[in-house]
């Protein structure tokens, strides 16, 4: 039986220890005992999570970065207002931000297309990383991120913050502790309204001034294409095959991740995948099924775990229902999906060099499950998957979808 500690955190709890970076080792400037943080990607979500960093007493956001001038300046204004000074520096190119020795950790909240790429460059610069979900757009990308975090001793927390939220943790604990009996079905909601992949190439428009909007940096490791402003709109890129994984990765990065956790599959994944109507199903070696679907209750990103002895269902509304009722007792949970707990846990992990709850390997495994479901969707056939080798069995065509050649100079 594994216990999911309701206190957020990783494997080992320890007294807070400031890293040598923050203390100014190796000729670096001291940071007044605060962890220096840089924020890369400052659209709505980026600024939302940034506020969780700003709220931490042991953290100093010193720089922000965005390819949009308007966004990075708005983020700088947020930071400066918080600290009552003008010290925050706004960058267009994240490599300039990463070059600063007073930055210990970065928040990465770019578009999906860049999550892995920026994580790799940040790790190579020695920064610890809190990166928004979904972690990657291909299996190979997040495999590379996970490997790189290990070999460079980087603390990485994926922004799957529901791992730090009470109702979801409680549901997972019911599953992991055996109180639901043998797990049979793990239901994960997929995002509504973005089911179909977008393959569109748009007509070229005049490219904006690079300081206003850096198109080349927005594209990042994705294939170059002529500028059109529509690409960079959330509703367009988020189901475009070059930039995201559409409905499956949008919420599956959260909900399939919780299912993986509930099934104690953080270091593996299903072995067979197939599509039934608008449902995508993965079957684990233990017989349990991961079912990505729509129609679950209780707000956004709901999950439902069913076992031989009972079930639990919960979502962002904070509502939670179990069968039998006694599994829940009279417990109640607040709704919402704040990042504060998750950010706080990350900072504690950074200070103690301990493993995060949403570390790179767990996030890679859960987003990989989503990617393989997308193989079924894109190719229209079932996939047999070897979680150890991370390859499709007997399907060389599907295997080619596991990666995409990175556009130079970016590399895995």
């Amino acid at each position: 039986m594994r216990r999911v500690s309701l206190a957020a955190g990783g494997l080992v709890a320890a007294p807070a220890i400031i890293t040598t970076n923050a203390l100014g080792a190796e000729g670096q400037a001291a940071a007044s005992n605060r962890l220096g943080v840089g924020v890369i990607g400052t659209s709505g979500r980026g600024r939302q999570v940034m506020r969780a960093f700003l709220a931490q007493p042991d953290t100093q956001v010193v720089a922000v970065c965005d390819v949009y001038r308007e966004r990075r300046e708005a983020a700088k204004a947020d930071v400066d207002q918080k600290y009552g000074n003008q010290d925050c520096v706004a960058y267009r190119d994240f490599r300039d931000l990463l070059a600063r020795p007073d930055i210990d950790a970065v928040l990465i909240a770019t578009g999906d297309n860049w999550h892995s790429g920026v994580s790799l460059v940040a790790a190579r610069a020695g920064k610890d990383i809190y990166c928004e979900k979904p972690m990657s757009v291909t299996v190979a990308e997040s495999r590379a991120v996970s490997d790189t975090m290990k070999r460079l001793g980087i603390i990485f927390q994926c922004g799957t913050q529901r791992r730090s939220i009470g109702n979801f943790r409680y549901a997972v604990e019911l599953a992991q502790s055996g109180k639901l009996g043998e797990l049979k079905e793990l239901h994960a909601e997929q995002a509504p309204g973005m089911f179909t992949f977008n393959y569109e190439t748009l007509p070229e428009e005049p490219q904006p001034n690079i300081e206003e909007f850096d198109w080349n940096m927005w594209l990042g490791p994705a294939a170059w294409r002529p500028f059109n402003a529509k690409y960079a709109t959330r509703g367009f890129w988020s189901n475009h095959v070059d930039f995201s994984g559409a409905s499956i990765t949008e919420w599956g990065s959260h909900t399939a991740d919780l299912c993986q956790w509930a099934n104690s599959s953080d270091d593996t994944g299903p072995i067979e995948y197939w599509q039934e109507g608008d449902r995508f199903i993965g079957k684990y070696a233990n017989g349990a099924k991961l079912i990505l679907r729509n129609g679950l209750r209780f707000g956004s990103c709901p999950v439902r775990f069913e076992g031989t002895e009972g079930w639990v269902e919960t979502g962002d509304s904070g509502e939670i229902e179990t069968h039998p009722k006694s599994l829940l007792g009279n417990r109640g949970f607040e709704g919402g999906y704040p990042a504060e707990n998750h950010v706080r846990a990350f900072l504690d992990n950074v200070k103690t060099r301990t493993q995060t709850v949403s570390n790179a390997e767990t996030a890679h495994r859960s987003i990989s499950a989503c990617h393989v479901m997308n193989f079924c969707k894109r190719l229209g056939r079932p996939i047999k998957w070897d979680p150890a080798k991370e390859e499709c069995i007997g399907d060389p065509e599907a295997n080619r979808l596991r990666s995409r050649a990175y556009r130079e100079p970016w590399y895995l």
Partner: protein, 648 residues
Amino acid sequence: MKGYVIQTTLFAAACLVALLAASTGAMATEDTVNNEEELIKTLQRADADWQVKQEACRGLRRIGTEKSIPALAALLNDEKLGHLARFALEPMPYPEAGQTLRDALAASAGAQKTGLIISLGYRRDADAVELIASALADADAATAAAAAGALGRIATPAAIKSLTAFRTSAPESLRPALAEGLLAAGQYLMEQGEGAKAAAVFKDVLNSESLEHARRGAFWGLVHADPKKAPAVLVKALAGDDAVFRDVAAQLVAETSGAKQTKRLAAALPALPVEGQAALLRGLGARKDAVARPAILTAMNSGEKAVKVEAIKALGSVGGDLDVATLAPLLVSADADLAAASKESLRNMESAAADTAIAAAVASAEPAVSAQLLEILTAHMAPEAAPTALSSLGNSSEVVRVAALRSLVVLGSPAETPAITTTLAKATTPEELSAAGDALNAIASMYKEEVLPALLEAMGAANPESRKVLLRALGQIAGPKALEPVLAAAKDTDTALRDEALRVLADWRTADAAPHLMELAKTDNAALRDQALRGYVRLAKEAGTVEAKVEMLNTAMGIASSQQEKWLVLAAWGAVPSKQALDTLRTFLGDPAVQNEAASAIIAAATEFGKQGAEQKTQAAEALNGVLAGVQEPAIRDRAQRALEGLK
């Protein structure tokens, strides 16, 4: 970086659609196109532009065979399409694809050269080592870094040798990429079962590199690559002065395994400095290997508090039922840190046997300990938790009974309700009364009518204090049956009981309380009147239909006499987006005493009402214009004007 701009025309896109449609018989995409011959021809067509060729490359990424390689090869050094050609070639399993990329690399420069190195690295092309190694000295920093990364992925002896050899002459800016390349090589060797070779690479980086994150990574690799020697490596770090490396070592102790290694680590514990012992104990606790238990028990007797605290915390994770008796007394240690460590330790116990032991200890421990054990058992969701809490209600200590009641706040069900009401009846202190009330409220809120009989029975025999508690629990159930005893209590001669009943009534959640609240709202007692009217108006807002809301609010307005009472009712009208509400509210615009409140309510109601249809929009606009005509307050006029514009 691709600074070029190319012309993409709608005509080209139309050509592509036609081509793909012709090849598949339907609107094809890169995921469905299936005619390789057509795609190859597209790449070879002189009149095909970027748009068409890039789509062909995407299709060949999925279905391209050796036949497509020459056509793709021709594009590799094309500034506009080189990356897309790699897009197709990189994942191909054919040796010819590798040969093509190598041939192109030999003749490439700039961005294309960097890209080719990246693809050859991704393919782990051992035949490309010499070519790539020569690029380590490239004047372009991006190309040199990509070469280091590629050689690390390839990880052959020659690749590793080229990386280590170049270190001595490398510019400072390339050192991080070289270090990472070597670490990647070590990692790959380890995955291939070449632990000794991997360890040699990691050791080399650890000893030669000054970058902290590279050293951390090398340390991680060394421990994982050679598990037999791992304890010695970890102990050395734990004995050192570097606090970060001690933490990393603790994490590595946690994430590695092996009974023999655990034994060696545990044996090293006494000789470590205090900070090292504390770190190792953290790691051993998270490692969860019972082999470490004797060493942890010994460390619990340490004279150093930091060591003692970590030992206590670790014991819960590696120990079991036998250790409950050791940890439980520490829950009430005078030293708060030791007490907290003990609680954390017991909380982290995972076995069913441990829960059984904790449950057994509840009955025999001193009261303060029993209380905390009950809390832990509850947090564990242990099957013993509810029965233990139930039996603890009969404990002679109030501390234990209160803890049991708090446990039942979470775990209680109708089955435990009679015992709780019995405890309530005997309770004399505010704390126990409150805890019993919390438990009953929680159960009533969850199980509603199921617990009504038990509560009604208890009401009959209860003393005034416990009756007040029971009234609140009845309020959680609501409905006509629960209402009866509340109404009876509202007429009781005991003033305190009566006041409590009226408070419960004012918060009643079902409509059956409305007539009674209206009666109370007509009395002369100002405080009671206010409370009752607020309750009535709240029920009015929650009524099921607009008609019911209108009727109730009209009734409420009919008895509202003070200015505050009128404000209360007018504000409620604002939450009823209907013509009736707007008509009623407009009649108050002429009354200076409530004009502003009426106007605010009109703005709120009209804003929502106007969304319901064209006719409603017109009526909402009329009401808002009425506000603009009759109200002078600038802020309200401004809001009305904005609401009016919002309707458009």
